[in-house]
């Protein structure tokens, strides 16, 4: 560090109108009042945006309550008390929450009864998103989500900022996390041109044709026919989960992935999606652990597929109540050419068609009467690929140098048939590369070979850990330190 950091980065200074001297791409006209030295506060509307739900609930509760409706003044007082109390609590929490950037970490102090200080080191940040929940978007505000390896998403949430401020902060953190200080001068344009947009019509069509929805809809139709024609009333309750099975995926896909846009930035691929709750996510090159391509049965006829990614630190913890296997979506539904393009972008030099796939032996039929035909694995010098599933086909791609461990497994029936499974473990995420029901000798050879390939790949690729933990010293010419970007890229190959 040549510059006297952390000075220019810390919260107090940030609130001043510093000249053109970094790190903000454009010096922000910040409206926040000057603070005491320990950091900057969040947006003053934060408590309202965070707590609006409670106000609505309180209002509904007041209105719905029979005895209170008869006594409107009491209800009014109650509502006002709740509002005032809520705002006071929220304001207190807002007042005591401060954040600042130090030399190597972002520090957040919060809590007025129980003080809490959380320090997130830049080199531990795996990915950073700017998210805009619905209400926050109405006010032009956004929250910053930092994914820390091993931590839940809520551990790294900072809300709310003005949108452009959040974006700027994200750029800074991303640059710091990747350890390339000088790069930010090179690419100061936060906006990027979209590579790919998924049309809503296709999203809707794809969801309607997905296995879950079709199965549930089929079940629902059968149920309705059975009820009306056969006068068979018992099953009606079963209709509820089935209806949910139809509506929920449609809602999730069409609303959650509305306007899915993939764009290219200097820091990696970036996705943007959502109708009410706009989610942005950056996929830093070199952090991709594995890919999963899913093709439900009807999608295969249309040539559609979905691409998901394992990124270190992105998979949330189950405690958040979200789908814990949800990694990063790279493409909710895409045509063959788009999928090929995206794959080539994430893993340059990968050609799935060129990889020779080895099918499982026919005796696997005993364990998988239909699906055995689709069990296969293949590899090249960069990745190992496994496929399985006949209703919904799953193709898992694991990078050799990201392989965590390799396991050989055999159950009693497999042993009688002389079969075994090989698991190639990757960090938590959608990818699960398992070569199921291989001949046991072949499986043992695959285990050894994969361990060897992983070892070789680790040796060849320069350690990305070194890049993260030792930020490149800013050199006078930006060129040598921006070389960190291609180097980072190459670790994805």
């Amino acid at each position: 560090m040549t510059e006297p950091a952390p000075g220019p980065y810390d919260g107090r200074q940030m609130t001043q109108q510093t000249g053109g001297e970094q790190p903000w791409p454009t010096p922000p006209p910040v409206q926040q009042p000057p603070d005491e030295p320990s950091g900057a506060r969040l947006h003053p509307l934060t408590p309202f945006v965070k707590g609006w739900g409670y106000f609505v609930v309180a209002a509904i509760a007041m209105v719905n309550n029979e005895s209170l409706r008869s006594n409107l003044t009491l209800a009014g007082f109650g509502l006002i008390a709740v509002l005032v109390g809520g705002i006071a609590l929220g304001a207190l929490s807002w007042w005591f929450t401060k954040w600042q950037l130090t030399e190597e970490a972002i520090r957040v102090d919060s809590g007025f009864l129980f003080r809490r200080t959380r320090i997130i080191r830049f080199d531990r940040i795996q990915a950073i998103d700017v998210a805009q929940p619905f209400v926050a978007r109405l006010f032009g505000m956004a929250e910053l989500r930092m994914d820390v390896a091993g931590g839940g998403k809520s551990d790294g949430k900072l809300s709310y900022f003005r949108y452009d401020e959040a974006v700027r902060l994200r750029t800074i953190l991303l640059v710091r996390a990747k350890g390339e200080q000088a790069v930010e001068h090179a690419d100061q344009q936060p906006q990027s041109e979209p590579i790919l947009v998924v049309p809503t019509a296709r999203l809707l069509g794809a969801t309607l044709l997905s296995s879950t929805v079709l199965g549930s809809a089929g079940g629902l139709i059968w149920l309705i026919v059975a009820t009306t024609v056969l006068d068979f009333h018992i099953g009606l309750f079963a209709g509820l989960p089935l209806l949910l099975g139809v509506v929920q995926p449609i809602w999730k896909q069409v609303v959650g992935n509305h306007g899915f846009t993939l764009s290219e930035t200097g820091h990696g691929l970036r996705t943007k999606r959502g109708l009410f709750d706009v989610q942005r996510q950056t996929v830093p090159p070199g952090r991709v652990q594995g890919l999963l391509i899913t093709e439900p049965i009807i999608w295969r006829l249309l040539g559609w597929s979905r691409v998901e990614l394992d990124i270190a630190g992105v998979a949330g913890s189950p405690a958040e109540g979200e789908d814990d296997r949800e990694g990063a979506q790279l493409l909710p539904v895409g045509e063959r050419a788009e999928v090929a393009y995206v794959l080539a972008r994430v893993l340059p030099g990968l050609d799935l068609a060129r990889i020779e796939m080895h099918r499982a032996p026919q005796r696997a039929k005993r364990l998988r009467p239909i699906g055995w035909r689709y069990l296969a694995y293949g590899y090249d010098d960069q990745v190992l690929v496994t496929t399985r599933g006949w209703v919904s086909r799953r193709t898992s791609i694991v990078l050799h140098h990201k392989t965590q461990s390799v396991r050989l497994e055999q159950g009693p029936i497999q042993r009688r048939l002389g079969l075994a499974n090989v698991h190639v473990d990757t960090p938590l995420g959608p990818t699960d590369a398992i070569a199921l029901h291989r001949d046991q000798f072949e499986a043992a050879r695959l285990l050894e070979a994969q361990a060897d390939r992983a070892r070789e790949a680790r040796r060849e690729v320069p350690s990305s850990a070194a890049v993260q933990t030792q930020p490149n010293p800013p050199s006078p010419d930006g060129s040598s330190s921006s070389a960190a970007s291609p180097a980072d890229d190459s670790s994805a190959t």
Binding site: A312, Q404, R407, D425, S463, S464
Partner: protein
């Protein structure tokens, strides 16, 4: 035949037979308590004669577990290769795990009260994925701490980021 799950190009270290002793004691306690409960419940409700067959069933269960535990204990083995730790175990469901040292996030050494009294400990290697099942039970405490130190040293030396 067993070569599949224990490649012969490395030297395999078996785990201590005390592991079987601990597990048998555990199983004895479990079956003993269950048997006593069954005996008392049946004895009070149906008559004490009915309790005896129940006791016999639990005794048979214990005898069976005695044999299984012995076989299972003998199946546990591990090997340290230049770059990887290999752990192999299981008779009915067999598993061989290959974990590169550089993938290690942290090492756990645990010993419950029963294990401690028998003088054994468990070493578990954690990687970034919970799927990795690299656990070695039944190690002598000295061996456990030697393994822990060696693994952390190797993990440090070969550390590989995510």
């Amino acid at each position: 035949m067993d070569d599949l799950f224990a490649p012969s190009d490395v030297t395999w270290t078996p785990v201590s037979p005390k592991l079987a002793a601990v597990r048998r004691l555990n199983s004895a306690i479990t079956f003993g308590v269950l048997g006593l409960v069954a005996l008392v419940v049946l004895g009070v409700t149906l008559g004490w004669v009915w309790g005896l067959p129940a006791l016999a069933v639990f005794a048979a269960g214990f005898a069976w577990s005695w044999i299984l535990i012995g076989r299972n204990q003998r199946s546990w083995k591990y090997a340290e290769r230049e770059d990887e730790l290999l752990v192999s175990h299981g008779i009915l469901f067999r598993e061989l795990v290959v974990v590169p040292y550089g993938r290690m996030q942290f090492v756990d050494v645990t010993a419950g009260p029963l294990e401690r009294s028998f003088g054994i400990a468990t070493v578990e290697l954690h990687t970034a994925t919970p799927a990795t099942d690299a656990k070695i039970p039944g190690l002598h405490p000295d061996e456990a701490s030697r393994l822990r130190d060696r693994l952390s040293a190797l993990g440090q030396a070969q550390a590989w980021g995510l």
